[in-house]
Amino acid sequence: MEILKKIADALYDGDEYAMPGLVQEAVDAGCEAQEVLDAMMAGMAIVGEEFSRDELYIPEVLCSCHAMMEGSKVLKPLLTDQDSKSLGTVILGSVKGDMHDIGKNLVGMLLEGRGLKVIDIGIDVPEEKFVESAIEHNADIIACSILLTTTMPETPKVVKAFVDAGIRDKVKIMIGGAPITQDFCDRMGCDGFAKDAGGAAALAVELCQK
């Protein structure tokens, strides 16, 4: 349908202000809520992939994410429980001492765009809070944002907290942030690293499907 194409384009263009009107128009024209959501999610997947290929920049991606959020608000009351079944649950937070949230938020929005349920537990999160939240929400993945060299030492503490709680084998640990490398991830015994938010979303989907 023409309107679904318009929605996909507006999502790609990050037109957050036009999105609610377009989604409403699609619903009024008789589109199923799930159908509209799928169109938006397909658009988000392209945004994430292009970001991973260095073809898009943060401001544009943020606008697309917000367009997705605005559109989803219109659809939410129309989606059934069956429709909103997620691929998996991710606990997301910036580690203790790290006040940075833009990278974390971007990862969160792209994860939601790929159909995962995201519990954002904020910034400056101590390791025990990651464990408590993972247990409370029966999480598949915890994703830790680490932007500073000075907060990298939090990583082994998080891993150890999951070992000590006896749930390390039940929860996958993903890490990311400017100073993080695959080598660091491997040395810390984490399950996954992605160099950017698009890669993190793809990785989380892959980890949930394992």
Partner: protein
């Protein structure tokens, strides 16, 4: 050559006797440096800026063997200015800086709760903006700079007014501001214009006091890059941000030259910013800091080849991997590579690629300086 002559030669794209070296320490590494250099008599907390950077005493600068004295900006006072019991504070723009503990007993100030998060374009007219004429900004500055000039041979690197684009980021919050520059451009222009006019006047006021003592004016911190790409597309940069930076930089340079025609302007801009370097040169930037080597497409040999005739590089010693986690051999290699790439023909001031944080040992920094003294002598002849 003395330090100042060395720096001036490098700034004018001429080969000095050796590569000038510089660094700015944050409080924790400064304390470590006191121990390593056996200078326990020095003050434990010299004047500290918002980034926990400290005013390194001249005695330490000279013992360490570096060539520059960095003067960080004094803050003004406004209705927003406030200190809290936990060490956090609100600055004159209304930005709240939360004192945050870091592993190992260190701390940093992190920006939370941006003040203009709900502001409309109309609100910008009624907001309590800082007063650029506030004499607190230059209290004691003239005596200090005159003292450095008269009693040492050090070049003076000074920072007075703050940023335009990056300050807008602080005031609006990163996420909202990045959306503003795409979907709310009228507001974005209005906010940057407001800030730019205050910064311009601030520079005028302070330079009338101390402009004659400045060798390099640091225009700060317009971070335009992330680790793996620029913060925005070149198209957005040129359309939305560059006009304001150009206005600010050209004005700063013109004002500075009224008092010291030989002085240069330096821009600090972190990250992968290669696509913008040509634009920054066009905006009048003489010196680029920190030339972050671990960022994407910031290959030092390519940067020198492409921009080396038009801009001076300051920084370039990796502070994300090598200085905090590297071995002495890796530091030696990093310094040699930076010198080999950037020093030929002058135009290079070597420094860690950021204010040095508490996870770098003072010993590593002493080793870095030693390497510059060993390998940085002209003519450069490194394999």
């Amino acid at each position: 050559m003395n330090s100042r002559e060395r720096v001036h030669a490098a700034l004018n794209h001429k080969e000095p006797d050796r590569v000038p070296v510089d660094m700015v320490l944050t409080i924790d590494v400064y304390r470590d440096m006191k121990k390593v250099l056996n200078m326990e008599h020095l003050p434990d907390s010299p004047r500290m800026g918002r980034w926990t950077e400290v005013q390194m005493p001249i005695e330490m600068i000279e013992k360490l063997g570096i060539d520059m004295y960095y003067i960080s900006p004094r803050s003004g006072v406004s209705v927003h200015t406030k200190s809290f019991d936990d060490g956090s504070f609100t600055d004159e723009w209304g930005c709240y800086w939360k004192k945050t503990a870091i592993d190992g007993g260190h701390f940093y100030f992190e920006l939370v709760n941006p003040p203009l998060v709900n502001a409309t374009i109309e609100d910008l007219e009624t907001y309590d903006w800082p007063d650029p004429e506030d004499p607190k900004r230059y209290a004691g500055l003239k005596e200090e700079m005159k003292g450095v000039r008269e009693t040492t041979d050090l070049a003076i690197l000074a920072k007075f007014a703050g940023a335009v684009f990056e300050l807008a980021t602080y005031m609006r919050g990163h996420e909202l501001w990045y959306r503003d520059i795409i979907n709310n451009q009228e507001f974005a222009h209005a906010l940057m214009d407001k800030i730019c006019q205050i910064q311009k006047r601030t520079n005028e006021v302070i330079m009338a006091e101390v402009g004659e003592y400045v060798d390099i004016l640091r225009l700060s911190g317009e971070d335009l890059g992330m680790q793996d790409r620029p913060l925005m597309s070149p198209k957005t940069f040129r359309k939305v941000v560059k006009p304001h930076l150009k206005e600010h930089f050209e004005h700063a340079k013109k004002t500075l030259h009224q008092y010291n025609p030989e002085a240069k302007i330096m821009l600090h801009s972190c990250g992968a910013i290669k696509p913008f370097i040509g634009d920054l040169i066009e905006c009048g930037v003489d010196v680029l800091d920190p030339v972050q080597p671990a960022a994407t497409n910031m290959n030092r040999f390519e940067l020198k080849k492409e921009f080396g005739e038009d801009i001076v590089f300051h920084g370039n010693i990796d502070i994300q991997n090598i200085l905090p986690f590297g071995t002495k051999e890796e530091i030696t290699h990093e310094v040699r590579e930076a010198i080999k790439a950037l020093a030929p023909g002058g135009g290079f001031l070597l420094s860690p690629a950021h204010n040095v944080q508490g996870d770098v040992s003072a010993e590593n920094l002493v080793h870095m300086v030693k390497c510059v003294h060993e390998f940085g002598n002209y003519p450069i002849n490194l394999d």
